[in-house]
Symmetry: C2
DNA sequence: CTGAAAGCGCTTACAG
DNA sequence: CTGAAAGCGCTTACAG
């Protein structure tokens, strides 16, 4: 930008201070109507726009939020990624903020001065990724910018900002739903061990089973690490060893898609022989055959609320810790049927 | 950051200039080994990290790229969005840059000083969206930051930076492929009029037909605006009026997915009665029934190369205009069969 | 190899 | 309602 506030001031025959006051909404009314008009005329003529960097340096506010996530971006499905980003960016925008995507290196321990991936020049950070581990959080604890956990929550819920959905309850509901259809042999395909979400979903499964007098059977529990491929493998194994399973609950849709294929490859059909249910409601789930019954997470909402809350704490309109837990919704499609008699 | 370069300087008993030199790779070797070591020791101890905003103000470089796209984000499928972002962010990162996502308001004409969506504090802009129109481009023309068109190209190719894939050729190949399978009545479902990509794909269709002595038949051409729903509608109409069509080429996969459903709903089957082919190779395309034959655009590569090129021109390592056209790839799945005898 | 000083383009007490 | 001045935290000629 060749044209600076000085140029405007000179042309308007006022001081830069006055131009600055005229420009900023908080101080706008401190300048005489007429002066302000003159200033804006010149601003328009010169196509002037204040330098955000200079502004930031002087106010110590960048008006940008960092959406920080693991660099293994592949860890997220694009539906998830997009949902969070769009949600966050839209509410940020509404509140006058921009959004920077920052990839965190997994080895973020001793951050070096030259460490590029270190979030810089942001007013607050959205920490995305259910597998965000404590060291990573520590990096932010030692910073002086506010941050909020997205789709995750900390050990000590009372001290941290977060927004998440109720994974345990979502999973609990699934099992009840399956139980209601007469299923008793319900297998579970777990997500990764280090994912809070994955563990909560598993907890919901176990809880619902126990509540109904069914002892969770270790042999019916496998791990699929949230990927389609591993989901396929897990179910393939499962069905090779057990022929009395009537339903499979996968901790995410990716695995459920794999499960579906594994069931077909075993010569069984879904939902007639085996019911399958997923979690997340990714776009794909409604297109597979049969369309997948699953649990919807309000991803977009989560991104939106997280950004909003974060900005409020950045601006002191809300005092940390703040948190919100959103509810999930069971969406019935065609991959579940009443338990067959075996 | 409570600790500044002054604190470090004071503790190291040197000037801030020296600290600055020690920190920056370009000037690092201007400071005595021993001094530098002492400085870094203190930096580490104090957990100091330079303020990027101050740095930017003084160097007039923010080290951030803006990925600018229409605010109707829904215009993009999440696969596309994610591909471009991840591609761009990874190469940006490798080169020491961060990525800011900026939503451009569609009404970006007279940008007001307070206009939030105006890209600010960026060194360069990636303009994403095949529907980017000239007014939008004008906003950037008048700025002094470099920009590059992604998946789009300008009227005057000789004057602008862009990276795109060869849509016309991709479409041309599709038609040849279909022709090779004996199809003669090949319908085309167009994308939006104001999309350069869409028009190029259409041009490729027409060209291939003509080249083979077939006159494009207006009655076999419909518009679907790149959405599944409109694709469905277009094909539904098409099949109601014509029963001699043996193949449908959709200008994107979204429409192809809709087309597939329309064909089924008409009691026809794909590929036995009608072959369908899409464009883009979104994730979904391999999961529909039958899996869709389509044209792959190297989205991730496009994002990667675009960011790379942009940074090079920002840094003066490349002089604008720069451009690159990537090739597409026909990926055969099961939605096309030899033309049935009618 | 190092330091003093000017400057990047704003904002904001302070004084009037 | 307005201006002069200090300050935000860096970098970089300039001089030695």
């Amino acid at each position: 930008m060749a044209v600076t506030i000085r140029d405007i001031a000179k042309q308007a025959d006022v001081s830069v201070a006055t131009v600055s006051r005229a420009i900023n909404s908080a101080t706008r009314n401190q300048v005489r109507e007429e002066t302000r008009r003159k200033i804006f005329e010149i601003i328009k003529k010169c196509n002037y726009s204040p330098d955000q960097t200079a502004r930031s340096l002087s106010t110590r506010r960048t008006k940008v939020l960092g959406l920080c996530m693991p660099s293994r971006a592949s860890a997220f499905s694009s539906d998830y990624f997009t949902g969070i980003i769009i949600g966050a960016i839209e509410s940020a925008r509404k509140l006058g903020y921009e959004l920077k995507i920052v990839l965190l290196s997994e080895t973020t321990k001793g951050l070096d001065v030259s460490e590029v991936s270190k979030p810089s020049a942001i007013d607050g950070a959205l920490l995305v990724g259910t597998r965000i581990h404590d060291e990573l959080i520590a990096v932010f604890e030692n910073s002086d910018i506010p941050w909020i956990l997205v789709n995750n929550y900390p050990e000590n819920k009372e001290k941290t900002n977060f927004v998440d959905c109720d994974n345990e309850k979502g999973a609990y509901n699934v099992v009840n739903y399956l139980l209601g259809k007469g299923h008793r042999k319900i297998a579970f395909i777990k997500g990764p061990e280090d994912s809070r979400n994955a563990n909560d979903r598993f907890a919901g499964y176990t809880k619902a089973l126990k509540k109904n007098g069914i002892k969770p059977d270790k042999l019916l529990i496998k791990t699929g690490n949230f990927t389609e491929k591993e989901g396929y493998l897990a179910v393939h194994d499962l069905l090779s060893d057990h022929n009395d399973i009537t339903a499979i609950f996968c901790a995410d849709d990716e695995m459920a898609v794999g499960a579906l294929q594994a069931v077909k490859d075993k010569g069984l059909s879904c939902p007639e022989d085996i019911s399958i249910i997923g979690f997340d409601d990714i776009r794909l789930s409604r297109y597979v055959d049969p369309p997948l019954t699953t649990v919807r997470q309000p991803i977009y909402e989560i991104g939106k609320i997280a950004a909003q809350m974060l900005i409020y704490v950045v601006e002191g309109k809300l005092t940390a810790p703040v948190s919100k837990i959103l509810q999930t919704e069971l969406v019935e499609r065609n991959s579940c049927a009443p338990a067959a008699q075996k």
